[in-house]
């Protein structure tokens, strides 16, 4: 339990900053929503002149896309991006900092097994991410209530905002895996940021050409907002894919960490 609390304390400040950043992104975008609704009216008029079959081919559903949820789906692109950066930096940093801070031999000379060290660290990171999500969801729900002109379903809202946590889980596990695989991580962010952005770019380029295969490779596209809005649930196929990825990454992290030659400070 000592390691767990030690890490929670060490990351408390940066987690608070992340909550503020994520909430700020959401709030800034949501404040633009009233202006956006005007453009929507014009588009809606234009689109209603087009045959429905053609509209469907474009993937535009009038009812879903232009509601506050449609807008939320867009702004979540950026929330997920920032959230992924947080989660992966946390997952990588919480493990690699013993190595870069030259404190591994201090830590591992204590009467704790490596399994326990890794379990405590990863669960601390998990708790921090969960806390981030609770505060973030509540804050953005409040703002969405204020700016939205129409009533909206709280369930759909929280289904959408919970995708942040699901995406973060993926990057938390990936971060842990990277931390045990890459030898000598001097700067966490120079490992995590390019990785996160690589996934992000794959997802956005895939999105505007409407390629469905891309959804299998990038966690940013595991959860399709159009689907969530229309059906009020996740596509379970992707939840399962994600769960498998996470399980593999975490198990591999444990196996590698238990056996690897930890560099001693000298």
């Amino acid at each position: 339990m000592n390691i767990f609390w030690r890490e929670i304390k060490a990351y408390r400040k940066s987690t608070i900053i992340w909550v503020l950043v994520l909430s700020a992104i959401t709030i800034v975008f949501l404040l633009l929503y009233p202006g956006f609704t005007k453009d929507v009216e014009a588009t809606r008029k234009m689109l209603s002149g087009i045959p429905a079959a053609y509209r469907n081919a474009l993937g535009l559903s009038l009812d879903n896309f232009f509601t506050i949820f449609g807008f939320l789906g867009y702004l979540f692109t950026f929330v997920l991006l920032a959230g992924a950066a947080q989660a992966m930096s946390l997952g990588t940093g919480i493990i690699s900092k013993e190595d870069s801070g030259k404190t591994s031999d201090f830590l591992l000379s204590k009467p704790v097994t490596r399994t326990k060290v890794l379990t405590s660290k990863l669960s601390a990171a998990l708790v921090l991410l969960a806390a981030t999500n609770i505060f973030f969801s509540l804050a953005s729900y409040g703002v969405a209530r204020v700016v939205s002109t129409a009533n909206f379903s709280a369930k759909t809202f929280f289904l959408i905002s919970a995708t942040l946590f699901l995406v973060q889980l993926f990057f938390w596990a990936l971060g842990a895996l990277f931390a045990v695989i890459i030898p000598k991580i001097k700067s966490v962010i120079s490992v995590t940021l390019p990785t996160v952005f690589a996934f992000f770019i794959v997802s956005t380029i895939g999105a505007f050409i409407g390629n469905d295969n891309v959804r299998l490779v990038t966690p940013f596209k595991f959860y399709d907002y159009q689907y969530i809005i229309a059906h009020n649930t996740y596509e379970w196929k992707y939840v399962i894919i994600e769960a498998v990825c996470i399980a593999v990454a975490i198990v591999a992290s444990f196996i590698i960490y238990l056996k690897k030659d930890v560099r001693a400070a000298s």
Partner: protein, 264 residues
């Protein structure tokens, strides 16, 4: 000279990975063009009639996606963000690494002034930026040509890459200045990249609402927008502005780093 060579040697692996990454990004991006092209022109024309904010949310923005050059223009913002991340990380790493890795005592016990060390480091960083830009330019020209069936896009690409170079300079100096001023080097890279992320998200916020246009000076991505560069060429005002930003930030790096207590 020793410092330059030392830094280049320390970063060669990074250069290699980043170069491969950029080639992969441009290659896979343009490969998508091939797939997209077959969907035909009518959708493209329809999309172009949407209001700007709706276009942005749909992820299409004013480019003629049926031409290779237009599609490349759409990719440019992602090439730019990767270049910016790279430049920021290089800039902050060059300055921060001695204190972070506890080698500053060793370095400055050598007969070398701080200004000279920074000069060597910044020059090494500059060489790395040039390599990055060259790799990006060459692979862009090759990949676009490979998929292009219409008029040559080389002129547009070269202009865009010149814009990219300015972006690299700005973010390189942001990274260097943050590390120069900051006393706790563990956080330098995070602070510098936060600035970068902020300007990146700001770019999309500004695009979403015309009334926020006055904020455009805060986001360098707005200075060199692919759309504007392809239609009007590089804006001299923004080129000068970028150089001023770069010079001010580099000067403040020298100023602060030469004066402050280095943490050991």
């Amino acid at each position: 000279m020793n410092v330059i060579l030392r830094e280049l040697k320390a970063h060669w692996k990074g250069i290699l990975f980043w170069s491969l990454g950029m080639i992969a990004l441009i290659g896979s991006g343009m490969a998508k063009y091939d797939a997209y092209q077959s969907t035909g022109q009518s959708i493209n024309q329809l999309m172009a009639q949407f209001p700007k904010s709706v276009q942005i949310i749909l992820g299409i923005s004013g480019f003629d996606l049926t031409t290779a050059a237009g599609f490349y223009g759409l990719l440019f913002i992602y090439i730019a963000i990767m270049a910016a991340i790279h430049a920021t990380l290089i800039g902050s790493d060059m300055i921060a690494k001695e204190e972070r890795d506890k080698t500053s005592e060793f370095l400055f016990s050598k007969p070398i002034s701080r200004a000279k060390a920074i000069t060597g480091k910044l020059l090494a960083g500059f060489v790395i930026l040039v390599i990055f830009n060259l790799v990006t330019t060459l692979s862009s020209i090759y990949m676009v040509q490979y998929f292009n069936k219409g008029a040559s896009a080389n002129h547009d690409i070269l202009l865009l890459m010149a814009g990219l170079a300015f972006l690299q300079l700005i973010f390189f100096s942001v990274g260097a200045a943050v590390a120069g001023i900051n006393k706790h080097q563990k956080s330098s890279a995070s602070i510098a990249t936060s600035v970068l992320l902020l300007t990146f998200i700001l770019y999309f916020v500004i695009n979403l609402n015309d009334k926020l246009d006055f904020l455009k000076y805060l986001s360098p991505f707005k200075y060199f927008e692919a759309h504007a560069i392809i239609t009007n060429g590089l804006d001299p005002f923004y080129m000068v502005l970028s150089l001023i930003i770069t010079v001010v930030l580099i000067a403040s790096t020298y100023f602060t780093y030469s004066r402050r207590d280095l943490s050991v």
